[in-house]
Amino acid sequence: MSDADFARPAMDVDVACVGFGPAAAGFLTVLSRALANTSGAAKALESRAAPGLPLQVVCYERADGIAFGVSGVVTRAHGIRATLPDLTADQIPMAAAVAEEKLVYLLDPIGVSHRSRTLRLADGILRGLKLARDSACELPYIPPFLEKDGGMVLSLGQFLEHIGGELMGAGAVQIWPGMPVSEPLIEDGRVAGVRLADMDVRAALTVVADGPVGAVGRRLDLEFGRPPGHAHREWALGMKMVVELAPEKALRPGTVIHTFGYPEPEIFGFLYALPGNLAAVGIFVPSWFRNPMRTAYRYLQHYMLHPHLWRYLQGGKLRSWGAKSLAESGRRAEPFLCGHGYARIGEGSGSTNPLAGSGVDEAWTTGAQLAEAVLELLLEGRPLTKENLEASYVALRRKSWVEQGARIAERARDGFHGGVIRGMAGMALAGMTNGRLWLKGEPHPLADLHEYYRGRIPAEELDRIVADCRARGVPCHDTLMDRCGWPAIPYDGQLLVSHQDALLMGGKVQAPAGFADHVRFRDPELCRSCAAKTCIEMCSGQALSPGEDGVPAFDREKCVYCGACLWNCTGNLEFAAGAGGLHSNEN
């Protein structure tokens, strides 16, 4: 039976929102507030889908809870506070006002990271001049574009739960977790709603807020393309843990430490102190890190063991763990922000500012801007057409601080494609000149396996290790890192635990029955001919492993839905909408 023969149930709403992250939270907060205060405007905000009722607004979230979000957040919270002027950190569990901010260069304390000669020389000078303590050098100055002074550190999960609770309590909008949206309904060049697993939801406006790897956003990109010159050039995988610090290691809540330089020079990291003696610790493994065997989990453990951080983390306990992909291209990957029947907000709409290392506040703001525009159109009785959305939402966004920051940041990270030092210099240049100057660089493909390990592991031995790991059905990165001299992780069963234990201890991986595998490989031959299989190496939950026939095997019960496999494959991988993923309210 073809899909066309299948009589799919359908229902009508006015606004269907895809995904509940910070962008949708901003959108729904502004909309909900207006719907709750409809005096004088009640008629304009009446539902067309259900005449006589208020505007019917529903939001479908793939994960089984609204607090699934994974992010180590330090935010200036400009946009969030513009919407919620009375919001303070003490209203949200695990949030604190930024109290202290440091930028720290981490030297390599064990001498095995992949450092250039220049960087090794710089490390030697720092050590020689005794400028490094605990193999780290605290910079005396934080560039203004990085500063989060006056902002907040928070748990995105707790923040979203707080906002979601307020929204549901107000009763003007509905949020439905555990409901993946598989695709947009596209009819004659316009989006007419969304398709869920078992039914269609038709809507006058579809708000696409499903993040950087969302199925709906990617389908719209395929259908409508992107503006000329816009593409995803850079990605990163962020992985973090929430750690309960030992009582004697207490840090002042709101302490923010940004790091760079270790465990590999390309990898950035952070430690944010939260209330309750907790800390969020994590790293970003970017796409310009050319190691084809790149892994986030093992590197995160080495990161935590760096003496500068271990002095706080030693004796700590893992409270939660998570990972997510980050769209690091910002505005350069911006899609068409609206079309007939749809609008895009948040990270998937290119709102992330890669120079400031900020995304939550920007995403929230784009959502709030869309809500203001939609309300304006409805109150004026104008339809939600592409032209009207461009004249309202897009215009509002273009003249906002989000757009100004995005333009400054647009090329700030290009330099990283020419090396870490060039990248840092390029960032500084772009930041100091408001984006007028930057250092050029174009993305390279991943390094060939032999090229990356040349001088460290003889070619024959490298081939033998890879063949052996694949035969055993395990990723190669651990064996290769061991062989390169990275010390074994001293598991303590509390914070330093195996990758699989992190899945079990750091939250709950959901894989509800009745859904097909959401990761599939299109052409098995392409997989067999792929030497690196970076999708396996970078898989955050070890859900992908070497398969018997040369095609990676996928276990959806381990998938945390980070989406790293998507951008670590050259287009042979399908990443569909699926229920589940990792659930920890504390991430």
Binding site: P9, M11, V58, Y60, D64, G65, I66, A67, P93, M94, Q158, E161, G164, G165, M168, G169, G171, Q174, I175, W176, P177, G178, M179, L196, A197, D198, M199, V201, G493, Q500, D501, L504, M505, G507, K508, P512, A513, G514, D555, H583, S584, N585, E586
Partner: protein, 275 residues
């Protein structure tokens, strides 16, 4: 045609059983009894046994036209709201919410009193058609006594515990109820007519898929019910807790798929022999 039923499901919420639950001694936030550390931050779910009861109630209600299902839930209001976002998509019901603790340290007697008093006040509830459903155990406490006491307070003498199946008999001739008994066997009883209490084991129904239409219909009553929720007076005389602590846990985790049950059993026996 069988008489339409009034099915009341008592279903509490529990912190997700897969999270680490650490007990904490009475403190400023919970002065009357111990609580769970970070309880308000942990994700909550409908108690798994009560969830089975709800799914069975919805199934039975669909088989007997004109029937209605209420879900009576005692828990912190904010957490109830969060759980309803998921559970409301699974089966049609009307929520009756009671604002109170749900940590598992609450005295079963006091919880039963609060539940029974609330059920008695449900408008339009016909005791002659009442089937009182709930879990025969709880993920937060395994005493299995609350539902029984609710039934007693409501004067319901027909009580079945460890139920795995209920089926309406033809021609309105009552119900056939299958209860678990010792030795992995079931006992089949005939219930001529309500009222009755059924404490559910796991039943045989799968968890229903989320249905957004069911969710939207339920939500029309859920939010008003949460706004109306009265605080339960749970601070009466009950058990006193001398101390609370987390049992020592030794993790020996290994994930293996498709392993034959015999082999799993052999390995567990061998492991126990080592202890």
């Amino acid at each position: 045609m069988p008489t339409p039923l009034h099915i009341v499901v008592c279903g509490g919420i529990v912190p997700d059983p897969l999270q680490t639950l650490e007990p904490a001694a009475p403190n400023a936030a919970f002065p009357a009894q111990p609580s769970l550390k970070n309880e308000m931050m942990l994700p909550a779910v409908l108690d798994p046994w009560a969830a089975h009861a709800l799914f069975e109630a919805a199934h039975l209600s669909a088989q007997v036209p004109g029937s209605k299902v209420w879900l009576v839930s005692l828990g912190p209001k904010a957490k109830l709201q969060q759980v309803m976002m998921t559970i409301a998509q699974k089966a049609p019901f009307e929520l009756v919410a009671i604002d109170g603790p749900a940590s598992g340290f609450t005295d079963a007697f006091a919880a039963a009193a609060a539940l029974a008093a609330t059920i008695e006040q449900i408008p339009g509830l016909d005791r002659g058609r009442l089937l009182l459903f709930g879990g025969w155990e709880s993920a937060s406490r395994g005493a299995g006594s609350t539902l029984q006491m609710v039934g007693e307070r409501l004067g319901i003498t027909e009580q079945f515990q460890g139920v795995d199946r209920i089926a309406a008999r033809a021609e309105g001739a009552g119900f056939e109820i299958m209860e678990r008994i010792e030795g992995g066997r079931h006992q089949v009883s005939l219930l001529s007519s309500p009222p009755a209490v059924l404490g559910w084991a796991t039943g045989y129904l799968p968890e229903p898929r989320n249905n957004p239409q069911v969710g939207m219909a339920n939500m029309r009553t859920i939010m008003p019910a949460l706004q109306r929720a009265k605080a339960a007076a749970m601070n009466g005389a009950g058990p006193s807790f001398a101390s609370v602590r987390l049992p020592a846990v030794e993790r020996q985790t290994r994930i293996v798929k498709d392993m034959p049950p015999e082999e799993i059993a052999r390995e567990i026996v061998a492991w126990m022999g080592e202890e």
